[in-house]
Amino acid sequence: MSLKGKAYIVGAYEHPTRYAPEKSVAQLHAEVAAGALKDAGLSKEDVDGYFCAGDAPGMGGFSMVDYLNLKVRHIDSTDTGGSSYLVHVKHAVQAIAAGKCDVALITLAGRPRSEGMATGTAPRTGNPAQPDLQWEYPYGPTVVNMYAMVAMRHMYEFGTTSAQLAWVKVAASYHAQHNPHALLRDVVSVSDVLNSPMVADPLHRLDCCVITDGGGALVVARPEIANSINRPRVKIIGTGEAIKGQMGGAIDLTYSAARVSGAAAFAEAGVKPADIKYASIYDSFTITVVMQLEDLGFCEKGEGGKFVADGNLISGVGKLPFNTDGGGLCNNHPANRGGMTKVIEAVRQLREEAHPAVQVKNCDLALAQGMGGQLATRHGSATLILERE
């Protein structure tokens, strides 16, 4: 069954905070839930489906459903890292199409900045039962070096350069200067990126996303409810999700799971990359963007470095405006999970509610792309294609 047009995004809210030591994680979830419902013109009583991932405190959705005092008949706590919230949108459309809920609430929140988390640079241990742990943890895998190894291979295979990767950050910074909530608002140059300290070769500090507190929420609803709300309607017309791992040791780091999730979303929507007016692309690192743009088909495999160079991602300048809120590289990466804010900025663009300096003209078709986990080991990808009605 095609899910095309079976549900709409009717509410979207990004928490303005980037540093919240005075708030609890549950409180932040509640604040973004309230914000998204207010944005939709709906109330808590309208919610009958709840979606959250591993950032939500407590087991699955139990504690947050109880804290928010929701009465739900559908729950989903799928966790695919930073891409979870795009997966949740897809699953919400499925649940709505199947009659399992009418109004789905999706929340994300966390406080890694307050908690002083060395998100990218400290190896993270886990449950010893995790089958890969004993084969990897001793060697010091970190989030950043598990993307750096992909960048290193991309450079070797395709001749991609650090200066090309830097353009991703430069474009994000051009957008972030207009976002009063962005953590980093200074415009940076390619040489600023190249001169920033090396964290894990070939990724510099400015190739890496920010660490922020905060969160965001979405409300997905069936068409009848979307029609009754006095907001521009954002129809979900294409969805895809995929997981990629090490394939029994037959590792190939030249492509990501976005190849599968993107193809599924484009096929369902019946559109092609050239039709997309605005793209939110998961930007944990600059290489993450290059890899996904190739795998989604915005350019040929290996051409991503050339594609992003010379301002091609800057709104009003290049061919593919991306991350006009400043993205994870400059604006916000709440709870170390950037998928939620990708969807929110795509909704802003389709509603023409982005900052005027970065609003894409006649933005009637947008893509949101999420990536979770670690690109060099195991990761999840999710793709949404959204249309303004």
Partner: protein, 130 residues
């Protein structure tokens, strides 16, 4: 510069023979007798054909670097890599006994065992001397 201390791996019943062999200085990989493919990391069930007919075999300990990164932002910087074993599969590891600037993709490497903090030694690789 001091070399980074390697935390101990945490063997499971499925992998204990590998770590016992490592203590004896032998490097094992898991090979499927049904489809004749070696895989990594080792599993009881073949990840290619789901056959239970898999066995430990001693591997050459030779391979080449597929990709790597130097983790600079660490107390003791270290080189992490994927090495493609001559037997086929690719494994995560560290590159040791080499200046960071001399490490390169496609470089031929050979296995050495490195002690861990309080567990069995782990396989790491060093450049093959020309």
């Amino acid at each position: 510069m001091a070399e980074r201390k390697i935390p101990a791996p945490t063997p499971t019943p499925e992998t204990e023979p590998f770590w016992q062999a490592a203590r004896e200085g032998r490097f094992l990989i898991r090979v499927c007798r049904t489809c004749e493919r070696a895989h990594w990391y080792p599993r009881a069930l073949c990840p290619f054909c789901f056959s239970e007919n898999t066995e430990w075999r001693e591997a050459s300990g030779r391979g080449s670097i597929y990709t790597f990164s130097i983790m600079r932002r660490a107390k003791e910087p270290y080189a992490i890599a994927y090495v493609k074993l001559d037997e086929g599969p690719m494994m995560m590891t560290n590159i040791v006994d080499s200046a960071f600037e001399n490490i390169a993709i496609d470089q031929q490497v050979e296995l050495v065992f490195r002690e861990t903090e309080d567990g069995p030694p782990v396989p790491v690789f060093r450049p093959v001397q020309a």
